[in-house]
Symmetry: C2
């Protein structure tokens, strides 16, 4: 198969008007130029240049081929620089996947500023709480609350959060505040479906981690619904700080069992691969 290098050497010779000067211009030896052109002619099965020691002239075939060479080489150049630019500048379409609650609460608001800083970049934010296949569904990056052990995916830690047992001040007042996780069995524990499947609420006690089975009158797979229930004083729930944070600061919810909290958990950005991360992804994560 013809190679682009051969074509560019040929174009160089035509441009320079000679093998020796072309060799100098291309920074290679003249024997290399000679052989490249000879090989190209062999592959095409046609003579491209009529050459004497002194003068050089294009064959009819050579003239035709040169014209096309120029165009092809510039097309390749274009393609290459398009890719490079896509790699260096944040643009194109960025497909982001994130959990529902976190996405609505933290990503969507941040997106406005991000997008105004990068007007060439389109963002496609897909929020859902199931674990998606990044590669199959073509995501550039996903935000994950739990770390996955998928070998081909690369994770980067974005932030930490805690899970806080909390309820409204009114609820605590009427039901009392537990001093130990075990006492939760006397409370109406509002449950996040996902946590339930893990067997209960996890704490970190003085003797290591412990899991407490809890039960209550309400369960949902949506963190915001849980929060609303808690705000209304229906019961106790375990909420991540990125959901309950504001309510805790504002005093609308109050925490309990803070001495038994698990160590910090992490929020991760996950990419399909590590090397050669497009700028759009890098910028977004930053």
């Amino acid at each position: 198969m013809i190679s682009l290098y051969e074509m560019s050497v040929f174009a160089g010779v035509v441009e320079a008007g000679g093998f020796s000067s072309a060799a100098a211009a291309l920074g290679i030896s003249k024997s290399a130029v000679s052989k490249r052109v000879a090989r190209l002619e062999d592959r095409l099965g046609a003579r491209l240049l009529n050459r004497t020691t002194r003068r050089l002239s294009l064959t009819e075939a050579g003239a035709q081929f040169h014209e096309r060479c120029i165009r092809i080489l510039s097309d390749v150049e274009d393609a290459q620089s398009a890719i490079t630019s896509l790699q260096l500048n944040p643009r194109g379409t960025l497909r982001v996947n994130a959990p529902m609650s976190f996405g609505v609460r933290h990503i969507a608001p941040a997106l406005a500023g991000f997008m105004s800083r990068h007007p060439e970049l389109k963002v496609d934010l897909v929020l859902n709480d199931r674990v998606v296949d990044l590669i199959e569904e073509g995501f550039d990056v996903a935000v994950r609350i739990v770390r996955l052990s998928d070998s081909s995916l690369i994770a980067r830690r974005l932030a930490s959060y805690r899970r806080v047992v909390c309820a409204s001040p009114e609820y605590w007042e009427s039901h009392g505040r537990p001093a130990h996780p075990r006492q939760l069995k006397d409370h109406n524990c509002l449950n996040y479906t996902y946590l339930l499947t893990q067997g209960g609420w996890r704490f970190s006690g003085p003797n290591g981690p412990m899991t407490v089975a809890v039960s209550g009158s309400f369960q949902t797979n949506n963190g915001d619904a849980l929060r609303v229930a808690a705000l209304n004083g229906i019961g106790v729930c375990m909420l991540p700080t990125f959901i309950a944070g504001e309510d805790l600061s504002a005093g609308r919810l109050e925490a309990a069992l803070e001495d038994f909290e698990e160590e910090d958990l992490s929020i991760y950005a996950v990419f399909p691969h590590a090397r050669q991360l497009p700028a759009k992804v890098r910028t977004f994560v930053d």
Copy 2:
């Protein structure tokens, strides 16, 4: 530099939807496919394909690049086949150089039939009697009466001819017919300028070649003018058979000294190079 082969392998992978199937389709091993694509990605500095063991998907960069790849590869294909076709089919422009007399008398008449057999071919016939630089002036082929010793040019014998001493029947009648070249000094020898510069007329006697100095009242650098003079009975001239042939057959001129004629001389087609002769040239010469 990116290579077309890499691009075609990448395009093959996209088309086949997998590395292994692409390898089978391209007839190479899958390790080669893997390495080619990896190298292409390195050179572009961007990931083109997101790959799991099971599934394959194009990156945004990959999708863009693939589109351009397809176009570039087909452009190259086009260029290549255009050259090949130019090489295989007689078409394009054929620049022919020939001596004046021979060109007018033999090439021009033959051209009509040749061109009607090859309507896609244009012919540019340049007639002159000076020796031109084929390469510098861009000729595809030249017809030469004398063999040149130009190293870079390749000659092919087209036909043979003889040089015949002849005059009109009337002239012979009134001046007598010479029996030996030496007797030419008693005749009015019409001279072709070019031959004069060689010192006289050359003959092949029983004792090997001989050159006879001749003189006469008329000399010209045009064979046809010489012929006309001879027809008019002005004197004796030495004409090539390709000029005097018809007149000799028709009896308008009669030969002499036929036993002393030189061995056959040749008419050559001369090309700038031997290998990869375009079809237009080959066809023309045939």
